[in-house]
């Protein structure tokens, strides 16, 4: 005879990912490796920004990069060729984001004892990556000038999970109706704690400030 039984679960489906992410962060703290999760929309200049930044950092700290994309390996090759630091490509197999387990699998391919900073370039997407804790020590995002100063209003969750917002492509500001002060105000409304650094990965303006931010974060993270 069929018997119907109800089993109560009452558990967030993200709970396991959050547990995995906390465990990963704990492990990274123990090993003195700082993991930055860098997010943005496609085409905002993540890879170019990384190349510029890593070239300013690589004599001071040991850096590695994990590139996450749906497919292809152009970004990983570009980083390796332009900076010489270890760079690996992760394929998400159609998924729109990385979770903590995927991040850990990626880190298994990096010699962590030889590294101070790992930068994870997440899938170009402002929606899904914001939902999944990767186990990173900090979250940063890039908003580029052509995308518009009102982006914090359209993708509030992304802005609310980030410790740092880079506003990239400031060199093209004269050609766009982009109001820097308005943009800062929108970001502040969504996340008063987020730091904002305007940069141009093309001219190098502001990149030093981002590099300094990273150096400081890494130093703080390495302090037991």
């Amino acid at each position: 005879m069929d018997e119907v039984r109800i089993i109560e679960i009452k558990k967030s489906v993200f709970a396991d990912n959050e547990k995995d992410a906390d465990a990963l962060r704990h492990e990274l703290k123990g090993r003195g490796v700082f993991l930055l999760n860098l997010m943005s929309a496609p085409g905002s200049g993540k890879t170019t920004t990384l190349i510029q930044t890593i070239n300013r950092l690589k004599d001071k700290i040991r850096v590695a990069v994990m590139e996450a994309d749906i497919d292809g390996d152009v970004d990983a090759i570009k980083i390796k060729e332009a900076t010489g630091v270890p760079s690996i490509q992760l394929h998400t197999g159609g998924m729109c984001h990385l979770d903590a387990e995927m991040t850990r699998q990626g880190l298994d391919n990096i010699e962590l004892r030889d590294v101070d900073l790992v930068i994870l370039e997440n899938v170009g997407n402002l929606v899904c990556p914001a939902e999944f804790d990767t186990g990173s020590c900090a979250n940063a995002m890039i908003l580029s000038v052509p995308e518009g100063d009102d982006k914090p209003l359209k993708y509030p969750l992304m802005f609310s999970v980030c410790d740092l917002v880079l506003i990239n492509k400031t060199d093209v500001m004269p050609y766009f109706d982009f109001d820097m002060e308005r943009c800062r105000e929108y970001i502040r409304q969504r996340n008063p704690k987020a730091q904002v650094i305007p940069i141009s990965a093309k001219t190098g303006e502001g990149v030093e400030a981002f590099a300094d931010w990273l150096l400081n974060e890494v130093a703080v993270w390495k302090t037991p």
Binding site: I6, I7, I9, V13, F14, D16, M95, D99, N125
Partner: protein, 113 residues
């Protein structure tokens, strides 16, 4: 947008609970989905059908969705309001000092076996 990923998480959790309770087949899974969780219910059920039927434990298992209304709270005037209608700005005092009380849930409520 990442409903398939969510479905894989649900399947993993349900399988775990089924194993603990020595269940051979699950006839339905009840989810609590918040209005502002970014999970789209009909996409979730579409992905569910595709993925669940590949598991003997979940063949023909129905995914039922309870929608949880999103409610925000204003820290300045201390009132609650509907998030979907008013967003981040408090409709009573226009403050931005508001936060979500509920409506962000993506939870497995229970399973029927």
């Amino acid at each position: 947008m990442h409903e398939l990923g969510v479905v894989f998480y649900i399947i993993r959790d349900v399988k775990e609970v089924a194993e603990q309770n020595q269940v051979e087949h699950v006839s339905s899974v009840v989810m609590d989905i918040g209005e502002v969780s970014t999970v789209v219910p009909h996409l979730l059920t579409d992905c569910w059908r595709w993925a669940a039927d590949k598991e003997p434990l979940l063949k023909d298992c129905e995914l039922k969705i309870n929608t949880i209304e999103a409610v925000s709270y204003c820290g300045d005037c201390q009132q609650e309001y509907e998030t979907v209608k008013f967003g981040k700005d408090c409709p009573f005092c226009n403050s931005h000092n508001t936060w979500l009380q509920r409506g962000n849930e993506v939870e497995i409520n229970s399973i029927v076996v």
